[in-house]
C-alpha cells in the first residue's frame, strides 16, 4: 500500500471531522468544587464517577473548611467555585455573607428524603445546604499504645499521659474539644470559662504533645505513635482504625464532657455559580439513597438520606433510643462560630505560652 500526499490529507481531514463531531464532552458541564482532602475527596471522586453529566475540577481545603471563606471573599462576586463542601459553623458564616444559592425540593427531589433538622436556611427561610453525612467528633485513643485507657475527662490529666495528647488547634473542629472540657466542668457554649481553666491545667501538665493544625498532623502524629490520645472527627479516626486498634469514646456513661459531638457536613451552591442547574442536579444525584449510603460507608460516617443504611464505623454514633440523649451532644454552632476569633486569640495568648 502506497502512502501519498493526497491520502495523508484525506486521513487528516477525516480525523479532524471525527474530532469535531458532537460527543459526550459537549453534554458534560464543567464545575469547580472544593472538598476536604484525604478519605473525603477519595470518596467524593468515587461517587462523582457515577454522574456522567458533570466534569468537576476539585480543589482541597487547606486545613479547616473555614479557610475557603477568605478565598471566596477576595474573589467575590467571581469566585471560581460552583460548589463547596462545608459544615455547620461554615454554613453560618456563608449565610451571614449572603453567598448561598437557595435550593428547592422541586429542583432537588432527593432532599425530600433528608430530615428537615439537617437543613440550614437563609434569612428568607430557603434551604441552602445539601447534607451528605451525619458525623461526630469525639475522644479516642490507640488501644495498643496509649499508656492510660481513658474513660473520663479527668484522666486526661494523668501524668502517665505526658506528651501523649494530640490537641486540635483552636480553629479546628470549631473548638468542640474545648467545649468538651467546658461541659465536663459545668460550662456550655455560652460559658466556656470552665473549659479554659481546664485547658490551662492540661497545657501546664505537659500532656499535650502536639497541637495539630491539620488532619495530616493528626494522622501522622497518631500513626507514628508520637501521640496516642486525641479528639477528632470520624473519617480520620476510621482511617486510623484500618491499621491500628482504636477505641472511640462515644459510649461513655456518666461523663458530661466525654460525648459524641454531632454535626453534619454537606454541600452548598454559591450564588455566583454560572452552572447552578448542573450543580444542583449533581448534588441531587450525590445525596440519592444509593450514593449517600456508598459515600458514607467509605468514610465510616452516618448517611443523611432516610433510605440509606448506616454500617461499619458509623455504628460508633448510631445511637438507639435513649442513647442519643445519654451519649450524643448537639452543639450550638452559631454561638461557637461567633466566638472563634476571640477563641484563637485566647489560645495564642493564654494556652500556647503554657505548652
Amino acid at each position: 500500500m502506497s502512502f501519498t500526499r493526497r491520502s495523508f490529507l484525506a486521513s487528516t481531514a477525516a480525523l479532524a471531522a471525527g474530532a469535531s463531531l458532537p460527543g459526550r464532552a459537549q453534554t458534560t458541564t464543567q464545575l469547580t468544587g472544593i472538598d476536604w482532602g484525604g478519605p473525603l475527596i477519595e470518596a467524593t471522586r468515587k461517587i462523582t464517577e457515577g454522574d456522567k453529566n458533570v466534569d468537576i475540577t476539585w480543589e482541597l481545603h487547606s486545613g479547616g473548611a473555614g479557610t475557603v471563606l477568605p478565598k471566596i471573599k477576595s474573589a467575590w462576586p467571581n469566585p471560581k467555585y460552583d460548589i463547596v463542601a462545608a459544615w455547620n459553623p461554615v454554613y453560618v458564616t456563608m449565610i451571614n455573607e449572603d453567598w448561598l444559592e437557595p435550593l428547592t425540593l422541586d429542583e432537588m427531589p432527593n432532599l425530600r428524603d433528608i430530615p428537615s433538622e439537617y437543613f440550614f436556611k437563609d434569612k428568607n427561610g430557603a434551604i441552602v445546604n445539601v447534607p451528605r453525612s451525619l458525623a461526630g467528633m469525639f475522644w479516642g485513643y490507640r488501644d495498643d499504645k496509649a499508656p492510660v485507657k481513658v474513660q473520663r475527662i479527668e484522666q486526661l490529666f494523668d501524668p502517665k499521659l505526658k506528651g501523649q495528647i494530640c490537641w486540635p488547634g483552636p480553629s479546628i473542629n470549631s473548638n468542640l474539644q474545648l467545649l468538651s472540657l467546658a461541659l465536663s466542668a459545668g460550662g456550655n457554649e455560652k460559658n466556656m470559662e470552665p473549659g479554659w481553666e481546664l485547658l490551662k491545667k492540661l497545657a501546664k501538665s505537659g500532656n499535650i504533645g502536639r497541637v495539630a493544625a491539620t488532619e495530616t498532623d493528626f494522622l501522622n502524629s497518631m500513626t507514628t505513635g508520637e501521640t496516642t490520645v486525641a479528639f477528632w472527627n470520624m473519617s480520620p479516626w476510621k482511617k486510623l482504625s484500618t491499621n491500628f486498634p482504636i477505641k472511640a469514646l462515644t459510649h461513655v456513661p456518666d461523663d458530661k464532657g466525654m460525648k459524641a459531638f454531632m454535626y453534619q457536613d454537606g454541600w452548598v451552591v454559591l450564588k455566583s455559580s454560572k452552572q447552578k442547574k448542573a450543580a444542583k442536579d449533581y448534588l441531587n444525584f450525590f445525596v440519592g439513597p444509593e450514593q449517600n449510603q456508598h459515600f458514607n460507608e467509605m468514610l465510616g460516617q452516618g448517611p443523611t438520606n432516610r433510605k440509606a443504611k448506616s454500617s461499619g464505623f458509623a455504628e460508633n454514633i448510631a445511637f438507639k433510643g435513649d442513647e442519643l440523649a445519654k451519649y450524643a451532644y448537639f452543639p450550638d454552632f452559631t454561638v461557637l462560630a461567633a466566638q472563634l476569633n476571640d477563641t484563637i486569640k485566647r489560645f495564642e495568648t493564654e494556652i500556647v505560652p503554657l505548652l
Binding site: S62, G63, G66, P70, Q164, A213, T349
Partner: protein
Amino acid sequence: MRAPRGAGLIVPALLVVFILLVAPLLMVGDESLRVFVPGRVGSAHDAPLTIENYVGLASAAYVHYFADTFRISLIATSLALVLAYPIGYRVAREARARVRRAWIAFLVVMLFLSILIRVYSVSLAVGPAGFGRGLSDLLGLTLNSRSYAEISVVLGLLHCLVPMAVIVLLAPLQSLNPRLVEAAQALGAPRWKAHATITIPLSSRGLLAAFMLCFTFSISAFVIPMVLGKGRVLFVSNLIYSRFGEVGNYPGGAALSIALLTLSLIVVYTIGRATGGRLEHVR
C-alpha cells in the same frame, strides 16, 4: 537638572512594582486600621477606623511571638552560615571543573526541592518513626517538649538555608585570589589564621548578603514552624495565616503583617547599617 537619557524606560517597571507591591501593601495597611466584627469575613466596606488591632499586639504574649520568631531565625541563620561557609569554600576551590559543576547542580536541585518534601522528611526523621527518640535522649529532652520542637524547627530551616547560603557565598569565594592565603602561609601564618585574617574578611560582603537572605527567609517561614513546631513553636507568619485563613479576621492579620514587616525592615536596616560601614574598608 535634566533626567538621564532613557530614564523614561523605567516607568513601566515602576508601574508594575506599584501595582503588584505598593498598592496591595497600602490596602493591607488600610485594612489593619478597620474594625472587625467576629463572624464576618474581613472588615465591612464602611467599617470605622481603629488602632485596636495594633494595641492588642503590645501584650506580653505577642511580644514573645515576635521575639521567638526573630530569635529562632537568628539561630538558624547563624548556623546556616557556619555550615555553608566551608562547603562554599570547598566548592569554590575545587580544581576539577566537572566535580565543581556536580556540586553546583546538587546545590541548585536542593534549592528547588519542594518545601513540603523538606518539612515532612525532617518531621519523619526527627519524629518517633525516625531517629527522634535517640536524638532527644542524646539532648536530654523529651520528644514532645517545646525545646525539642524548637530544635526541629531550626533543623527544618537549615534544610532550606544551607544550600541557599552556599550558592550566595560561591561568587565572592570564587573571586578571592587563593595566592593571598598561600602567601600568608608561606610567611609562617597557620592555616586557620590565614583564613581568619584574609579569606573571611575578604568574603564578608558575601556573608552579609547570605545572612540577609537567610534571615528574611527564616522570619517569613510559615510551613516549617507550622509542621515542625507542633503547635508549641509558632512564628508570626502562622498567626497571620490563622487570622486571614481561618477566622477571616483580615484587620487583625493585616496589623500583624504590617508590624512584622516594619520590625523586619528595622532589623535588616540596622544590621546592614552596623556592618556596612565596616565593610567599606574591606576591598
